[in-house]
Structures are given as C-alpha cells and as structure tokens.
Subunit: 613 residues, 2 copies
C-alpha cells in the first residue's frame, strides 16, 4: 500500500482510555475511506437499538484519504453517528481546516464513545492525546470556545471542532462547528453534548505520504485543470451558493410559508448580486481553489454592524421562506447567531417555519410562545426563537426537538405539514418541482438531505447520459436518483466536496487516479469498481437502518408534498407521485417492495454479513 496508512484513535470518554489502531488493507480496498469507513465502522461498532444520547453511541470523526494533499477540494471532514433526530445512521460534513489539520496531526479518524463524567475536550497532536477539563468552556459560544482553547494551549494555529450552548443543551439539531463552518445536520452537536465533549482540538505538521508521488502530482494537476476549465466554475467561484435563491425561485420551488408556496415575494433582495454588494471578501476551505464561501458585512440600515461568514443558500432560505420575509440583513444576523450558538440553520429554520404555520392556524398562541407573535414577516421573533432554542428556554425547548417530535406531541393532523423525512427537516427545494431530487430526499438513509444525491440534472439542467431531463417527469427518476446517490457516495470516500463533485464531469476517472496514486490500490483506477464501492456504501447505510427497524414506512413525505399543490409559479399544480417513484427506485436498486435490499444485491456487494440468519 506504499506510504498510505490509516490511523484511527479510539477514545472512551467513560474510562478515559485511548487506543490507536491501523485499519486493515482489505478495509481500504473495499471501502476506500471517508464515508466508506464511516458507515463500516459505525455498522460494526454499534448494536441496534442503542440510545443516540447514551454512552454506546459513537461519534466517528474522519478526514478522507485525499485530505491535506495537493489535490483540490478534498479537505472536508465527516462525522458519523446514530442521529438523535432520526434514530438512524447519520453522516454530517464540515469544511474549513479541521479535516486537513487532523491528518497533519497524524490521524485519519477519531472514534469517540462513552460519556465523560465532567465536561472535557480532546487534544490530539502528533501522537499526543489528552482529555482536558472543559468545565470553564461550558455555555461558551463556538467562537469563544475556539479562542480560549487556542489561548490555553498557546497555539493560535490549532483547529477546533466544537459545540456551542445548543449542543450542550442537546438541541436535537445542534451542529459541530469549526472556524464558522459546520457539520450541521443530524444532531451531531447534541451527541457531543450528551457525551460531555465540548471540543476536539487538533494540530500537527506531519507531511502526507503518497504511494506514487509523481503520479499523484500529475493527477492532481489534471484535476485542477478540470476545475479551472469547467463552464460552471467561474459562476460558482464568484457567487458560491449565494447565487441559488434566484434560480430556485424562478423554478417556483423555493419553499415558502412551510412549503405552501414556491416563490417568495421580494426574493430578488436575496439574489447573488445583492450578496455581492455586501461582500467583504471570498474565503476558502483548506486547499480549495473554488473559494465559494465569503464574509459579508451589513453597513447600513436595520442590520448595520451584522456580519457573517456565509450565509449559504440554505440559511438564506431558512430565514426568509419559512417566515415569509425577504431581508438579506436578517439572514446574515441569523447565520452568525446560529454559528455562535452552534445550531444547524436548516432544521432550526424548518422548526421555526412550522411554528409560524401552527401560530397562523391557531394551534399555538401567544401563551405558548412566551408572548412572541409568530406572524409572517416578523423576522425579529425568529431571531429570538433561535436564542430560546439554543438555551432550551420556554417555547424554545419545544422547538429544539425538531418538527417530527413537535408534531407528534401536538397531534391534530399537524404531521401532514411537519416537513421532515425520517425526522430530518427538509432543505430548500420543493420536491414537487424536481422529482429525482425529491426521490433522493425521500429515500436517503439519513433523511431529507439535499447533498447526498443532488439532482443537478433537474436543478441546473445538466444532461444525463446525453439527455436533457424534464424535472417534472416521473419516468426514469428511479435510475437517475440511484445514479446521483451512488456517484456521491463514491466521491465522499475521498472526501470530495459535494460542490466540486460536478467538475468530475459525471465520471470517476480523475478521482480514481487520485485515489490509486495516493494509496497504491490499483483497483481504484477501475471506474466500474468505484461505482460498486459507492453502491456498497449506500446499501450498507440502508442496512444499518434496516437493522434499526427502518423500512418503506420511513421513506415517506408529509401529505403537503404528495397531496397538496402550489398555488402559483412554474411548479403550480404539481404533486409528488410518491408511490410510482418509490416503486421504480426500489426496483432500480434491487430492493424489495418494502425498501429492503435483497439478499442477492447484498451478496453481490460483499455485504453478506448484514443478512440476518
């Protein structure tokens, strides 16, 4: 395997014991790394039925095999755990510099289990591992936590992944933050909080080792050229995800007032051109030429003095569509507040948007909200709710559970417009306007995530096998969804950033060259093999959930998407044809009609070990 090693640190917070482990070569061959290792380790380590907030849950922090190399856009880190929001398998991804620093510190992964008696943080650097007292960080926001750890360890170059008050308070959609980037989704922050783990600080200067350094350099250069010459690159590099609101509104699929409308009045105020006006500068994750994020600053008006790194499209939407207001400054203030308090903006925003509809319907009143008037257009109330959620204070304690539990507690038919799949709140795409995109949201083991099978063919008009795709059509969407999901699964072994995935131009060829020259595994140059690994990963994720009791009953949308229609715009009058789409999808995957992978499929993928006897 040349210079490629895979080093894992296992930490038991209950016993305060550390164990170093080097992964078997066969595991590297079969799962490559990144998302492959994440699901395999989690599947092997976790018994079904464990409490996500209990000591037996794990947090598996991973950098990919191409992290901290010269290859562009591979610096994302991932966290794997059983989600307190979904009760199933979860993967969440963060950016900035923590992943590459983890590699430079000498580790590919850190596996956390147990529960610490007192608040601690983990400090890992080139073979030195230490659990340090974090009681003095309790209640601190993500910025202050990072700063004080750097001061305590007297090294401002330390990278910190941490939770804010929301994670400590086990808000079910609390995220894990590093330098204002976040592994936001699924409640990893709540799991950290439940483990009494405030942060993981890493720092190192170990060089990368390549199996074939010259070959890797060549592959890395070719990949850089591919990015540079891609037609989509200049626009995305210029605007990042801040250019998306204009597009999705023009498609009539910008979820507004809790998915009751598809176009937000005044959405033009949230366009990429508007964000460009308040931009301070572009920023970037470690070794990424795309530099899609930016720092923005509001210099006048109601929100003067507010700034943020971001907001990304999902956050821009989260604090506009769900509460019926198009105010750029509000999205900036909300983004910064969530970054500091440690909350996933998406689940937070959908929970708030749900509350606004409940309020409009009279299902909740001022006496429930602590006096807040949750009327559409009232952005101040949404900001106040964010603070209350992070602190689990008053009405915020209810919202901190996410819409699935909220609707279960409320009853009265509210589950019909509680916008989640498997407990994970929806992203900013109305599935009625993009059927493969919707089908992916419906079927992903982690729930309604937009990034694990993004249908760029439907949203951006990219051709699939030479064909233009009709976003409203039903035919062929099972195949397309499988393609998008498996393609992403392979890329996330890298770990390639999802935003850069498109520049691979629908092929695993470049990725395979990079992986093979880095690790020395020749099979990685075989595109068909890489496709197989992607499918293997996806099916193993599904089997994790099957083991937990998941089946077709969990691949379900709220009635709003399958029975109601949008009143206006290009997506008006459409519903999501769930039964037809799902049947096609299961067939494409060779899963049975209950959404369970068949034994044949599992054997074919080398997943025979998941078949219960």
């Amino acid at each position: 395997m040349g210079g490629y090693k895979n080093r894992i640190l296992r930490v038991d917070l209950t016993t305060r014991k550390f164990e170093e482990q080097t992964l078997d070569n066969s595991l590297i061959h079969d799962y490559i790394g990144g998302r492959g290792f994440g699901i395999k380790l989690l599947y092997d380590d976790l018994k079904p039925g464990i409490d996500p907030m209990g000591p037996d849950n794990e947090l598996i922090f991973l950098a990919g095999p191409l992290s901290n190399t010269t290859a562009q856009s591979f610096s994302r880190w991932k966290v794997f755990f059983k989600s307190p929001l979904t009760g199933g398998y979860f993967k969440s991804s963060g950016g900035a510099h923590w992943g590459s620093e983890l590699k430079a510190a000498g580790l590919d992964a850190i596996v956390i289990r147990g529960i610490s008696e007192n608040p601690v943080y983990l400090w890992a650097s080139e073979g030195h591992y230490e659990l340090r007292d974090a009681s003095y960080l309790t209640g601190l926001d993500c910025d202050d936590t990072t700063e004080l750890i750097r001061e305590e360890l007297r090294d401002p170059l330390i990278r910190v992944a941490c939770i804010g008050p929301a994670g400590e308070n086990k808000v079910r959609y609390a995220g894990i933050f590093s330098d204002r980037h976040t592994a936001g989704r699924g409640g990893g922050g709540a799991v950290m909080g439940a483990k009494n783990l405030k942060a993981i600080a890493v720092r190192g200067r170990l060089p990368m080792e390549y199996s074939d350094a010259a070959g890797f350099a060549e592959a890395s250069k070719a990949w850089m050229e591919a990015i540079r010459t891609d037609r989509g690159y200049p626009h995305f590099s210029e605007h990042g995800t801040q250019g998306t609101a204009g597009l999705t509104n023009s498609l009539g699929m910008y979820p507004t007032k809790n998915f009751r409308e598809g176009i937000l009045k005044g959405y033009e105020a949230l366009d990429g051109a508007e964000f460009k006006k308040v931009r301070v500068r572009k920023t970037a994750c470690h070794n990424c030429m795309i530099h899609c994020p930016s720092i923005v600053h509001i210099s006048s008006g109601r929100w003067a003095g507010n700034w943020s790194e971001g907001p990304e499209y999902e956050t821009i939407w989260g604090f506009s569509g769900p509460i019926g207001v198009a105010d750029l400054g509000l999205t900036v203030a909300a983004d910064r507040l969530c970054d500091r308090l440690g909350i996933d903006t998406m689940s937070c925003a959908v929970s708030i948007g749900f509350a606004y509809e409940l309020y409009e319907k009279g299902i909740i009143t001022k006496s429930d909200t602590g006096g807040l008037e949750l009327t559409y257009g009232n952005g101040d109330a949404a900001l106040k709710l964010v603070e209350m959620i992070a602190a689990r204070q008053g009405f915020g304690d209810f919202l901190a559970e996410g819409v699935r539990i909220m609707s279960k507690k409320l009853g009265r038919g509210t589950e019909k417009f509680a916008m989640h799949v498997k407990g994970l709140e929806f992203p900013a795409y109305d599935p009625r306007g993009a059927k493969a995109h919707g089908l992916s949201l419906m079927t992903l083991p982690i729930g309604a995530d937009h990034n694990s099978g993004y249908s760029f063919q439907e949203i951006f008009g990219v051709r699939y096998k030479g064909q233009k795709i009709d976003r409203f059509a039903v035919d062929g969407k099972g195949e397309l969804t499988k393609w998008n999901q498996d393609f992403t699964a392979t890329q996330e072994t890298g770990i390639l950033c999802n935003f850069a995935g498109g520049y691979m131009r629908g092929s695993h060829q470049m990725l395979g060259k990079l992986l093979a020259t880095a690790t020395g595994v020749k099979d990685f140059e075989d595109e068909a093999y890489l496709w197989k690994v992607g499918e293997r990963i996806f099916n193993l994720e599904q089997m994790f959930n099957v083991r937990e009791g998941f089946s077709r009953k969990d691949d379900v949308f709220p009635d709003r998407i399958t029975k109601e229609t949008l009143p206006a715009g290009p997506t008006a009058g459409k519903v999501f044809e769930a039964d037809i789409l799902l049947a096609d999808y299961y067939k494409q995957r060779n899963w049975d009609s209950n959404g369970i992978p068949t034994p044949e499929k599992l054997q074919e993928l080398g997943l025979g070990f998941t078949i219960s006897k």
Copy 2:
C-alpha cells in the same frame, strides 16, 4: 546612545501620508520615554482650543524604552490625546501584548492625526505601513474585529488595538482594546472613532538592542529578584486586583449608591476568595511574572455560561456599589460586555450609578429611561444600559456623555453629586477615607484617576519615609501626594506597570539601572535626576491644561465629598477638607494659589518654553 533608538511613525489620516521620525537624543535625555514623550509630543503638536473630536487632535500610541526587553512588567502601552471627556491632556494605559509587539514591529510610537474619509485600520510591521479599508469592520465588537483582521492579514499572531461600537459611536468614555485589555479611560476610543480609525494592527520580530547588554541583564535579574522577594508579591500574584473589594469595604470607603455609603451590603460575595472559586486560570501581560489577571467562568445559577478575562477591582465595584447589588456573576457579565462593546467600565458605571440616584430622586423617570426601572438592586437594567450606551440608543445616548455633561443638561443641583473631576468619573475609592489619595484624584491633570498617584501608604498601610500614615489626617498630605504623583510619573517613562511600581520599594535605583543600561544615558542612574524628570513631566502636563484654561477652579470635588458625610462604617462622619489640602499641595509643588506652576518652578524644570510671554 548605544543601540537605543526611538522611532516614531506619524500618520495623517486626512492626507493618508506616513512620515518616519527618529527622536533627538536630547529629548530622550530630558524625558526618557513613555509618559515623558507622550506629554512632550502632545504639548508640542497640539494648538490650544482644538476640538478633541476634530482632525487636529492626536492619538499618540507609545511603548516604553523597556518594552519587549527581558525586564519584567514593562509591557504596558500608552495613548495620549486631548480628552473628549475632560477637554484637557489625557494619558491612558493598556496591557497584554500590543506594546511589546509594537516595539518588535520596529516602532516606539505611532502618532495619528487627521480624520480618514472612510473607516480604516492601520497595519504596521517592520517598515511596512498601510491604511486598509475597515468599512467591513464597522459595528463589530472588539473580539470580532481582532479575529477578522488576523484572518485578513493571514497571521494569527498579529496584535490589534481597536475600538468597538462604543468608540465608533463616540461614547465619550469609549476605550481602546487589545486582547481584552484596555486603555480604557478618558475617551481615547471616542477619538479613534471620530478619526474613523477602527484599529491598529502590529506585528514584528525585530530584536531589542541594548546599550549595555550585560549590564541590562544584571539589572533585569535584580529587578526580578526584587519582585520575587517582595512581601506583597505572593498575595497580589494570587489575587490580582480581585482581592481589593474586601479591603476597601473594611475601610468603609467602597463607594456605594453614588458615594452616599461606604460599605456595600453583602460585599463578601465579591471577595478575592469568591473570585478564586470561579477562576479558570491566571493570565499575564507580555513578560510579566506577576500574572495578576485571570480568566473566570460562571458555571451555575443565573449567570451560568458567562466568562471574562477580569473583572478587575474597578469593574467589580462598578457593577456593584453604584447600583446597590453584590452579585459576582453580574460583574463578570458586565466586564465581558464592556470588553466586547469597547467601553471603559469605570466611567460607564459611574454614569449608570448617577442615573440610578437621579431615578430614585425622581429627577428622571421611566419615561426617560425607555421603561427601565433603575432601582437599586436591578442589575439587569444596568446591563441593558451598557448596550444602550454603546449604541447611543435612547437613554443611552444621554449616559454616553458622562456625568459632567449629564448634570449640566439636567441642572437642578445635580452637579453636587455628579461624581467626576474635570469630567473624568471617580474610581472606586471614597476620598473621604484617604486624603492623599483623594488629593491626587482632585489635582491630577487628567481628572479623577486612581493610578497616577495611588496612595498605597493610606490604602495598604505602606510606610512613607519610615512613618505610618493616618489616612484621615490632613497634615503632610500635600507632600505625600506630590511624592506619589512624581514617583509614578518617572516609573511611567519605563513604562512600568503601576501594579509593579510598589516592588521598586520607594526608590528609582533599580529603574535607573535598567534605563541607563538599555539606553546608555548615564544620568538615568542618578535617582535625583529621575525624580526631576518625573516632576518635569507632571508640570508639563499641568501646563498643557493651563494653556487650555484650566486652573484651581478645575481642581474641585462635587459637594458630596466635601460637604456630605457617610452614615456608617470606619469612614463615617468624615468630609474631604478640600481647601486646606489643596493649599498645602500647591505650596509643595511651588504652584501659585490658582494652581498654576510658578515661572521659577518651570525654569527649574527646564519648562521655560511653556511660560507665555
């Protein structure tokens, strides 16, 4: 002069021009550095009558000749300007690392004048000087400003001195902050704000040069030994200024309810032992073995999750005595809030305390305060006021002017309990309980400052020329005050931290050795000469104010101190005998009965140039 140089950078913000200057050797001989240079440059540069908020005012940032050397406790930096609070000469001091970094960047001083058209910050590093756009920092607190500048310049080791929103909004007692330490007093932050200067960032790695390196090393070691073996060192190193509230309450001179009482009910909750319980760790300024500051963190109760570096004694008092509440957590929250918003806690607290008394007396009501109930014990209202002051919002706009202007606007006899001298709000010592300490507050050119002539003989019982000093006595207090003031003036040429000044044991011998071996100026070994320089500095400061129209009429206390008495405790029944004490003081200084230095005294001190023809 050996290796000693004195390099000044002059920056005109209006013309955006830089000018480098090396000071004359004669200036070094006559004024040594630090406070000596500050007043001399300011006196020479400023015409009388200029607007403190206008382009002709200067901000002179200085490190001392012993900054960034191996000598302990010389890392403080100073800022000199005409104060928007007093209309006179001002000097303000900050700690942490900015001063030594300025030296390492190759500068002893930066002199700022003019007004920038747009918000800028200054970046200075080893001969590179640059005004950079700061519009994106507008409205940001001191922490975020520091972080974003470090990110922009891609160097986390940069040291930043900056203002927060309070400075931008020209709050008259806005401070200048660096790494949570502050040159807080006198409104330097407001002057920076008026100049559209958000920050000064410095970084460098230039080594120090000594005229006599071996001699300096020896002197530096002796000084370290003197600190280490001082009887007061262990206690002060252990508690810092957090050990003071117990003492001043026991002396009955802890100003309570706007100086109407001398003991705060429940003050034991604010004792050093209580702060020790919430301490995270000690911190320190650059190269200071005393490490008197600390980081504290509140882990339970009403203020759980609040933390701060500090609070120092003055802040502990400021958010207890003036508002009649003894709540340790409140002082921590207030300290952090003021650090972030960029406000001098002392003037802020006295202004708030003034408002509480006005409210009690019915001179202001809820309709003035925007609904806040300023009743003694209401700490939440005080925190809210801090935010309103920084933003100059509503009632906060009135408080942002300081008590002198507040009382002038109100009339109705309120000047009798507007607690200031020359516009500078009082510190946490009741002058009725320490007459020399009070006399210094009354006579200092900068107003009611406790650190420029601290009567440790009265407060801590240190002997003066072998004698114990009766703190209530009037006799001999003119001489003692002059001694304390001139002694401090010499030490601040160093710039020696005032908290370390006591370890010099009443002598300039050790300081002289350090100064002489560093600079090569032999006269600095002559104690009598150093005393003369101190007196020269003090008299030149006085002449700056005389030129502005100051005289005896400005050396005045509010009636509360001279006519009213405290109702209980060891200082009960005492008044401050202003006339007798002041007459004695003027005589000791050889100033005339109007508080003007005589021509003979000025000639003797080499200050003939200040005598108007």
